[in-house]
């Protein structure tokens, strides 16, 4: 369970990339767009999970870092003519740096106060995007021009699809490594009990600050990915609605596991598309469904689909063990009975 991820775990990532290359030619633009969107959400949700599911810090600022990623990648690309391969990592680092800075005061706050303070921060970030006309063009938003990566032009969803898949594969691989590190264990330790973690020699504040930073970097990367298949961004992307969307993905999928995050991002990310495709567009019902899903999920599957599946599997396994034990005991008894009878 420690050390490097196994080949068996890394293989699906390779399959993801190869599959994307193959499907790029086969799927219609619309499906490619949805695919890109879902892959972006996976990155975003995993980043949020690092904070909420792994280290137990209930912070709401995630969407602000996502916004920083989008705006910074775009502005670095258009104003400073930086190529995407430089602009995106710089933007992600910038998001990380902001995360690092707000982590210092934020980690002093407990529980609900942390949630409120970071929520307020996210709202402030949206306000800045809306009013800082000279940089963000305010409420009008920014055009995102097509970019190119090492000579490969990324101008539409089809072009972007394999690129997004590669970035997602890299992010997943990094997360697998992270999951097996001592740092991940420290994160779970502070989630479960800060007293125990601290008494065991874990620098709780440092772990929290690093989790904030890492989480913000993930969100920044997701922001960079956004610019690959969208041609426009405005401050609405930083709104509460996006935050609730990502949170719903996390809760429905199951926090604390990569598989849960992927599941949640896909299930919830696809919902608006399904609603839109309904005979009479039901898009207006979107909020209602998100609300209903959130409430039902937290009531009946507090650990999401993935957690529920795990529990079901454990129960099944347990029952099977019991049956086996019972069966072997029966045979023993029967054997004993037969020897007694024969004697």
């Amino acid at each position: 369970m420690f050390g490097s991820p196994t080949l068996r775990q890394l293989a699906p990532l390779l399959a993801l990339v190869l599959g994307a290359l193959a499907l790029q030619q086969l799927l219609p633009q619309y499906f490619l767009y949805v695919g890109n969107l879902l892959m972006m959400y996976v990155i975003l949700v995993i980043g949020l999970d690092l904070l909420i599911g792994w280290s137990g810090q209930f912070a709401f600022a995630h969407i602000a870092f996502f916004g920083i990623g989008i705006y910074a990648t775009t502005i670095l690309g258009t104003r400073y003519d930086l190529p995407f391969l430089i602009a995106m990592p710089v933007a992600a680092m910038l998001a990380g740096a902001v995360g690092f800075l707000i982590a210092f005061p934020a980690t002093r706050l407990r529980a609900v106060y942390l949630a409120l303070a970071t929520f307020a921060f996210a709202e402030c970030a949206q306000w800045v995007a809306r009013t800082w006309d000279s940089v963000t063009k305010g409420a009008d938003g920014l055009q995102i021009p097509p970019t190119s990566i090492l000579g490969y032009a990324v101008g539409n969803d089809q072009h972007a699809f394999p690129v997004v898949a590669i970035i997602l594969a890299l992010v997943l691989a990094a997360t697998l490594y992270l999951q097996r590190s001592r740092f991940a264990r420290s994160m779970s330790a502070i989630r479960e009990s800060e007293h125990v973690a601290s008494a065991s020699g874990i620098d709780v504040k440092r772990v929290k600050i690093l989790s904030f930073t890492l989480s913000a970097i993930y969100a920044g990367v997701a922001g960079g990915v956004y610019t690959l298949f969208n041609s426009f961004v405005n401050p609405d992307i930083l709104g509460v609605a996006q935050l609730v969307l990502v949170l719903t993905m996390l809760v429905v999928g199951g926090s604390g596991s990569i598989a849960g995050c992927v599941l949640g991002a896909v299930l919830i990310g696809i919902l608006p598309e399904v609603l839109r495709a309904a005979p009479r567009s039901m898009l207006v019902w979107q909020e209602f469904f998100y609300g209903l899903i959130l409430v039902l999920a937290i009531m009946f599957m507090p650990r999401g689909f993935f957690g529920a599946w795990q529990a079901w599997r454990d129960r099944a396994r347990h029952a099977a063990d019991k049956r086996d034990a019972q069966a072997s005991q029966d045979t023993r008894l029967r054997a004993k009975a037969s020897t007694e009878a024969s004697s």
């Binding site: 050390g3 009990s193 125990v196 065991s200 020699g201």
Partner: protein, 254 residues
């Protein structure tokens, strides 16, 4: 022989209440030193001062000759002081093994997964081996992969001790390890403490279960209302009229 831990005139106040009043105590290396007293006497507060969960308003706490009071909380483990908690604190949703591995955080290198694979695997393997040793010592081997939250009360208490032990501390602070345990389990703790001292570990024990204290402690300090009222070998302390009074009240003594 000089003391491994020496507490020198500490005073702790919560608001207007003096929880610990000018308290001193020396713990010699390789001994089990019990700290007893009625509820609310300030025993846990003394523990919290040593492990830096509380800062005394006055006085000093020295470990191996150096003051602990300048250290942040998490650095105490690295110095070689580990503690357990009175109201079991465990990492509920981690396995028994993982709990013990977390307990080693102060002495296992490698924070980020940036080391080359082979070296990282070796470090992890050694850590797991050491953890298994601690589990064997505390009799928890059979529960290695159980979630800590699923253990019964007695095993949770043991796991708390195991987690502290895994740091290989020079000084172990045990806060009521036997509280709420059945007799058979208390005997198990008794045996474990004996083995630990045989290995040269120094232990400060806060405990209400007198049968355990009298059996394992070489020295006992009695605390009442934040002040030290008696100190000495178990037999002396047991005979001390002031101690009997503190525990049973004036009339019983008279």
């Amino acid at each position: 022989m000089s003391a491994l831990l020496s507490i020198d005139g500490i005073t702790v106040r919560f608001g207007g209440l003096v929880a610990v009043d000018n308290f001193s105590m020396d713990v010699e290396e390789g001994r089990i030193h019990a700290l007893i007293g009625p509820n609310g006497a300030g025993k846990s507060t003394v523990f919290n001062c040593i492990s830096r969960f509380t800062t005394p308003a006055a006085g000093d706490v020295r470990f191996a000759g150096e003051s602990l009071l300048a250290d942040p909380q998490y650095a105490i483990a690295k110095r070689g002081v580990a503690r357990t908690f009175q109201n079991i604190e465990l990492l509920q949703r981690l396995t028994v093994l993982e709990n013990v591995l977390v307990g080693m955080s102060s002495r296992v290198p490698g924070y980020f997964p940036l080391l080359p694979g082979a070296r990282r695997r070796r470090i992890e393997r050694e850590a797991v081996d050491a953890a298994d040793e601690v589990l064997a010592l505390t009799g928890l081997t059979g529960y290695r992969d159980t979630l800590a939250g699923d253990l019964d009360f007695g095993h949770q208490k043991l796991l708390d001790v195991a987690r502290a032990l895994s740091a290989k501390p020079r000084l172990l602070l045990l806060d009521e390890p036997a509280a709420g345990l059945r007799n058979r389990e208390i005997a198990q703790v008794d045996k474990l403490l004996g083995e630990l001292t045989a290995r040269g570990m120094t232990i400060v024990l806060v405990e209400h279960v007198m049968q355990l204290v009298m059996s394992v402690a070489q020295k006992i300090t009695v605390l009442s209302f934040g002040r030290k009222i008696a100190e000495g070998a178990p037999a002396e302390v047991r005979a001390n009229p002031e101690v009997i009074e503190a525990y049973l009240g004036k009339r019983a003594h008279a």
